[in-house]
């Protein structure tokens, strides 16, 4: 999976391309760890994300907890399969999915 970051002040857009699975979720968490200081507006752009597994949700939950009280997370441009995972697991109640 390819992770591309665009930082502009307090806003960070992370583009995910490929599959966010057990193996690549660890890469995402590693990327997030150094990148969230001062971020209040975090967007995961999923236009090129094929699918995600529960490991991917764990990485997103990590981001959510890191930003808790300090900012917001949006997950954008999800395909049908990705949306289904968010809905089935109740993650649509935790972060905004567009």
């Amino acid at each position: 999976m390819t992770i591309t970051k665009h930082r502009s002040g307090p806003s960070l857009v992370i583009e995910l391309e490929g599959r966010l699975d057990t193996v690549t979720a660890a890469d995402l968490e590693r990327e997030l760890k150094g990148s969230l200081d001062g971020v209040t507006d975090l967007v995961f752009d999923c236009s090129r994300l094929d699918y995600l597994t529960s490991a991917g949700l764990r990485a997103l939950l990590f981001a959510y907890k890191a930003l808790r009280g300090k900012g917001e997370i949006r997950v954008t441009n999800v395909n049908e399969m990705v949306r289904e995972v968010f809905e089935v697991t109740g993650f649509t109640g935790i972060m905004t999915v567009e």
């Binding site: 699918y51 597994t53 529960s54 490991a55 808790r68 399969m81 935790i94």
Partner: protein
């Protein structure tokens, strides 16, 4: 049934997924069902890789079957690790806010929600988890 045996290591997940995908494609599996099965493979195989033989390693065997009349694909995972029934636990409460969400159990929950049938049995020293989906 076609079968593949690999060391149950996360680095072998792509090989397992490719093995099943090729067979699904040969049966004209629609993309959405294939993606759901890929997610299920990830969830099941990574549980085996992470827990079945910990702290050591061992093998996992993946078997694929297809019943043409009902267009039912069957993927069976077996390992000789610690006896463990992943279906024997209550589902996570998906209405809880993030602070109270548990990490564990989401993977199998996703599998149960997207597959038509999920079964577990312990037989001859093997954990055997079978998923089925009509494609």
């Amino acid at each position: 049934m076609q079968e593949l045996t690999v060391n149950a290591l996360l680095e072998n997940l792509p090989q397992v997924t490719d093995f099943v995908d090729a067979l699904l494609e040969a049966h004209d599996c629609p993309l959405k069902a294939q993606t759901q099965i890929d997610v299920a493979i990830d969830e099941v195989f990574s549980n085996i890789a992470n827990y079945a033989y910990a702290p050591g390693t061992g093998e996992a065997t993946v078997r694929f079957g297809f019943e043409a009349e009902t267009r039912t694909a069957t993927v069976e995972f077996s390992d000789r690790g610690v006896p463990f029934d992943p279906l024997g636990h209550t589902d996570p409460d998906v209405s809880l806010p993030a602070e109270e969400r548990e990490i564990g159990g989401l993977g199998i929950f996703l599998v149960k929600k997207t597959m038509d049938d999920v079964r577990y049995r312990y037989e001859g020293g093997n954990n055997i988890l079978t998923i089925q989906k009509r494609i």
